[in-house]
């Protein structure tokens, strides 16, 4: 088990190096750089910037150096003292910017994952064990709706309901009066009254998907000969279900850990925009459009690390759960 984890940790290094190179290169792909975007915006507003100012900025940001020098400066800073560089756009360090948004993002991700599991687990089992019952059809219908309706659509509908019928200040995670307040009971309650909308919006598709996966997996397992054999040995039904087929069908739940974190940190940009959530998604979007390369690159880097770490965690959990993963040599 230990060698398995050590081997996986070792594999992470080249993976992350490759990701950092690709991410950096892709950010540089569009013609121009942050300054050209900046100048274009300035002149659109009717402000002229003289060439000397541009040159001094270009030199200050190190934009006139070759791309590989920029890359090594950036990655060197990250590796040696966790310095992700400066954001041109915000005139602040990338670390500060991301750190502002990361805790709430992780909180939201964790809450969504928990909600997804709590809902999907019993419903998925019920759907499989009582296949073609009314409850199964109901769960299937709701599941398909959850999968088919775009998330931003649900977000808009819930915003409307929240505003029209509950008189809430919609959008964001806090009411204006708590926006910059220090943490206290009132702020926590305010957060709770706001967080349900993004929770439902972000949770529906995941829950629906997981219900379908668990149902399909469990149905496959329920028909395996070892289930019949266990029943023929006199194993009681409930114990049989939990101990035998369900343990195998659990695998997708474990695998979700791997992708739910990066999806919530980086994806769901549209939902986060619609709901004006203070998460990292919109931050990355604006960094990409304004070619704020250190900010964009660093967020991509963080997401990649989270993905790789998440996958590692889910693989370890899987190995712990499934002896075939743990003991079989590949």
């Amino acid at each position: 088990m230990l060698s398995f984890i050590a081997r996986r940790l070792l594999y992470m290094v080249p993976t992350l190096v490759l990701i950092s190179i690709v991410a950096f290169a892709i950010i540089q792909l569009p013609p121009g750089d942050f300054l050209t975007t900046f100048i274009a915006r300035m002149s659109a507003q009717g402000e002229a910037i003289d060439q000397a100012q541009i040159d001094s900025l270009r030199e200050r940001y190190g934009l006139d150096e070759p791309i590989y020098v920029q890359y090594f400066k950036w990655i060197g800073g990250i590796v040696t003292d966790l310095d992700f560089g400066q954001s041109f756009e915000w005139k602040r360090s990338v670390a500060d910017l991301v750190w502002d948004r990361l805790p709430l993002t992780v909180l939201l991700a964790g809450a969504t994952l928990t909600l997804t599991w709590i809902l999907a687990f019993p419903i998925g089992i019920y759907s499989a064990v009582k296949q073609y019952s009314i409850g199964d059809y109901l769960a299937t219908t709701i599941g398909y709706l959850g999968l088919a309706i775009p998330n931003f659509m649900i977000a808009l509908i819930l915003l409307y309901i929240g505003f029209r019928y509950f008189g809430q200040s919609v959008g964001g995670l806090f009411s204006p009066e708590y926006q910059d307040a220090a943490w206290n009971l009132g702020k926590v309650l305010d957060l709770l009254s706001h967080i349900w909308i993004p929770l439902i919006v972000l949770g529906t598709a995941g829950t629906a998907g997981l219900i379908r996966i668990l149902r399909a997996n469990l149905l496959d397992e329920l028909r395996k000969p070892y289930v019949v054999a266990a029943r023929a040995r006199g194993v009681p039904e409930r114990r049989l279900l939990v101990r035998y087929p369900l343990r195998v069908a659990m695998n997708p739940f474990i695998s979700t850990i791997g992708w739910v974190l990066p999806a919530l940190v980086g994806g769901e940009v549209i939902v986060a925009k619609v709901l004006s959530l203070p998460t990292t998604g919109p931050l990355m979007l604006s960094a990409l459009t304004s070619q704020d390369m250190y900010l964009a690159g660093s967020i991509i880097m963080i997401i990649s690390v989270l993905t790789v770490v998440g996958t590692l965690i889910s693989d370890i959990a899987l190995a712990w759960l499934d002896p075939r993963v743990r003991l079989r040599r590949h």
Binding site: A230, A232, G234, R324
Partner: protein, 361 residues
Amino acid sequence: MPQPDVLLEVKGLKTHFFLDEGVVRAVDGVNLTLPRGKTVCVVGESGCGKSMTARSVLGLIEPPGKVVDGNIWWSPSVDRAPAAMTGNGAPIDLAALDRRSERLRQIRGKDIAMIFQEPMASLSPMYTVGDQLTETIRLHLPMNKREARDHGVSLLRRVGIPRPEQRMDAYPWQLSGGMCQRVMIAIALSCGPSLLIADEPTTALDVTTQARIIDLLAQLQADTGMSMMFITHDLGVVAEIADEVIVMYLGTVVEQGSVDQIFHNPKHPYTRALLASIPTMGRGARKRLPTIRGQVPPPLNRPPGCPYHPRCDLAVAGLCDTADPPTVEFSDGHRTRCVLHDPQTLREHEERMVRTAQEDT
């Protein structure tokens, strides 16, 4: 009511599968008896209802399948009757018990054990051999973990698994198919069942392993005195281990008798055809192997009357294809379900034919 020396008596068992395309009558009126302490082989082609009959006994039929009719009389001997039961060993109708009932669950694995076709798939890959073995022991016998493990090790040794202590901690996929089947047999024997149902236990194994497993089963049956219901389509195995033979065709029992009666004096045309199609070494080995003409009818479209009549060389037109054949009893429990052995019906049919012929002229 079954006779005292009968352990299990199946009467008019019907197990049907209700599919969208129609009803498949997998078991359609099976009558058979399992004598106490004997080995009974059930033979027949694939899809004749052998396995489904066995599964019906233990209530293992899953929807869309259902036992729709019939009785399965189970008569545990007085000293073996579980405390939960009436105590005097009165027969219980297993077919009347709910398949999820606690009473049936207690019988499964304890009084009636079963082993299956694919030993590797019949053990869960998530648990060690020892886990699955001791689980069964502790479900039915009052033992603590230590005792159950010791009992498990002794069982593995008994079924011929080398280094049983280490094998207890092996996962099924670390063992060969033959070893897995030995483990299944050990689990089946763990609670000292009165009846072992073996559903084609050697089909998925290679030939040398097959022979060893069959020898093991025959020996264990002789040692423990349990009854064994052995389902197979290998007549060679039947000749080797059977005391009695049940021949099935399309969800019905066409003939039951002792192994001598079946092999030396078969009554039903199907049994005869089946025996004629065994390849023999030496004598006539260069001749073409006789086969039964035609094919098993599709399950959704069963012929009326005797299910075998479209393939039977001796079928009587106007009789076999209209009426269900009668069950004819011979001496010593040998019986067959064929009109050819019922002179009275044949005579009546002939007279009727003659009469209609006369009326026509």
